[in-house]
Amino acid sequence: MNSAAIASKSAAAIEKARSEGRTALIGYLPAGYPDVQGTIDAAVALAENGADVIEIGIPYSDPVMDGQVIQTATVQALENGFRVHQVFDIVAGITSRCEAAVLVMTYWNPVMRMGVDDFSRRLAEAGGAGLITPDLIPDEAAEWFEASDKYGLDRVFLVAPSSTPERMAMTVKASRGFVYAVSIMGVTGARTSVSSAAQQVVEAAHAAGAERVCVGLGVSKAEHVREIGAYAEGAIVGTALVATLGAEGVEAVGKLAAELHSGTTKN
């Protein structure tokens, strides 16, 4: 991964887990769900119960990579009047209360609307680590390369089972922090088992030079985290946390994080 001069917050968090003999645990929550304070409280509960990296998703009107549970949560956040700039309050709220690296996951149009430079500056000022960009590929990311270098932000691109070796190499090189390996051809959502394609994607990313690869999509249980830990640096859990937050609240999110964390210890 390039731009070694820039200290990556998410890389540091993942390396810390590695030095402790653990798989890094990354937890996703949608911004503004159930409300701004609720997102901050749930994220802090995640961090206090073992999440190394927090991923805050910006609710968007057309979330093509998201399944039903996350769609329902983000629609509710938008209906409650969530505004994009509130994500900076959420990031600042979390980083002031815990050590976890905080990434923002966002579809690209809200960033483009605010202006890539403005968005990046405000994210950096809020203490954010960088962006995960599900519908931005490196081919279209010229403005984001410039802004992420300028403000020292991580750029986490996705790789998929369908990525060709050429695209894998290009995407690994373009990423900073870690590479997000999509475990399955599909959208977000809890699944009973982690696809066997995941290991192959991770191996291909490692072979292309990635130092840190984390697996997302369909990861919902401690046993999934343990399984992924055998071949990847981190496991990303989203839908299971969102469903728990919606049904049982912040405390239950903390409990689920602790349970997931039990799967992070490498044998």
Binding site: S61, Q71, N109, R113, A174
Partner: protein, 441 residues
């Protein structure tokens, strides 16, 4: 161009877009970029499928067998070439300009949509895919996709907003008669854009077996250039026909714009004829001074939606704004990227036409020419009346002004909506109920 040297390893892409711009011709723009528009704002999971489609398309275009296959289907299945009909009595209402109608309404399935679906279904077969998925608003593209799937022996699944399935129950039945499965989409605003979102989610999960048969000249590269390619036949025929019938090129070409596929098809034939003015008419809904319209280029701002950078109806946060039009086929908050480019460089002009102007033109064509147009196409007709009056203003021989209008579809599907609009129904009839729902579009 969004490309920059900072992009690792991505600078090796052949810069076809630049070559096209420096050639001085606007025809056959290959993508991925049209000026600052177009590109691929898509999940990585789908990039391999888009590359495969691009590759298959490039090879097919160069294969005489494929070209012959498309031509044969166009001729013996769709009924091409479609006629160019002079609308003599209608012309009297356009300041006396001579108006010619490109009769895409006479194609099999009743609109221009068949051109694209046959071409893409053939490409799907070339890629070895056995299943096609499509989005539909009013049902026109869904019906056309189901038709092509039946003809070529492909499985077909159509995503349609749940709102739209209720408003267009007969089109749902048509698709089912043709063997397609229609899935109502309950996410988001339950309309066309959400049907596209759901089709994309299906595509990500089933890309090995499935081709996404996108219905308009929008979306990620190569769709805008590919969909245009299959509609270029409209403009090619129209140019030849108007030359044969009048001995010269028209002064203006008019088309309606939702995503913009019929418009880009007819514009393409005249892009390199600078004397021909090109007009795209967007859905002005209840007026562009209200928030109920679909005038994307007129009032939108550049952004990315469904894979392309283009003009977009969006709020200050970049959230897509719901569009409104009496015509479901124009009720889309985005627009194809090539139109955004043609607008920026001034080659084509884009103007809104309100529901009420479109419905006046709808009735006028019925009564003066005996042709019931689609409400979508009625926007182009209303625009042509406006352009005709403008171009003939102060002229002694208004009949020297020639305008070609793309009559992109027939209006049979719109009879309930029109009957309600013109208050032709007994208020208690089931048709009145359907019409009333249609009006809430």
């Amino acid at each position: 161009m969004t490309q920059s040297p900072e992009t690792p390893d991505a600078g090796e892409k052949p810069d076809t877009a630049d070559a096209f711009l420096s050639s001085g011709s606007l025809r056959h723009a290959p993508g991925p970029y049209f000026g600052n528009y177009g590109g691929r704002w898509m999940p990585e999971s789908l990039i391999a499928a888009l590359d495969e489609l691009q590759d298959t398309f490039d090879k097919a275009k160069a294969d005489p067998e494929f070209i012959a296959q498309v031509a044969e289907l166009n001729r013996n299945y769709s009924g091409r070439p479609s006629l160019l009909t002079e609308a003599k009595r209608f012309s009297a209402h356009a300041g006396g300009a001579r108006i010619f109608l490109k009769r895409e309404d006479l194609n099999h399935t009743g609109s221009h949509k068949i051109n694209n679906v046959l071409g893409q279904a053939l490409l799907a077969k070339r890629m070895g895919k056995t299943r096609i998925i499509a989005e539909t608003g009013a049902g026109q593209h869904g019906v056309a996709s189901a038709t092509a799937a039946a003809l070529l022996g492909l499985e077909c699944v159509v995503y349609m907003g749940a709102e739209d399935t209720r408003r267009q129950a007969l089109n749902v039945a048509r698709m089912e008669l043709l063997g397609a499965t229609v899935i109502p989409v309950t996410a988001g605003s339950q309309t066309l854009k959400d049907a596209i979102n759901e089709a994309l989610r299906d595509w990500v999960a089933n890309v090995h077996t499935t081709h996404y048969l996108l219905g308009t000249a929008a979306g990620a590269h190569p769709f805008p250039a590919l969909v245009r390619y299959f509609h270029e036949v409209i403009g090619d025929e129209a140019r030849e026909q108007i030359l044969a019938q009048t001995g010269r090129l028209p002064d203006a070409v008019c088309a309606c714009i939702g995503g913009g596929s019929n418009a880009i098809g007819i514009f393409h034939g005249f892009l390199d004829d600078p004397s021909v003015e090109l007009y795209g008419f967007e859905a002005g809904g209840e007026g562009v001074d209200t928030d109920r319209h679909a005038a994307t280029i007129t009032l939108g701002r550049p952004g990315v939606l469904h894979g392309a950078r283009s003009y977009l109806m969006q709020d200050d946060d970049g959230q897509t704004i719901e569009s409104h039009s009496i015509s479901a086929g124009l009720d889309y908050p985005g627009v194809g990227p090539e139109h955004s480019y043609l607008s920026d460089i001034g080659r084509a002009k884009y103007e809104p036409v309100t529901d009420s102007e479109a419905m006046d033109a709808f009735r006028l064509l019925c009564r003066t020419e005996g042709i019931i147009p689609a409400i979508e196409s009625s926007h182009a007709l209303a625009g042509a009346l406006r352009v005709g009056k403008k171009l003939t203003s102060g002229k002694q021989n208004p009949q020297d002004v020639i305008i070609v209008v793309n009559l992109s579809g027939r209006g049979d599907k719109d009879v309930a909506t029109a009957a309600e609009w013109f208050d032709l129904l007994d208020g208690n009839s089931p048709e009145a109920e359907i019409g009333a729902e249609g009006e809430q579009l």
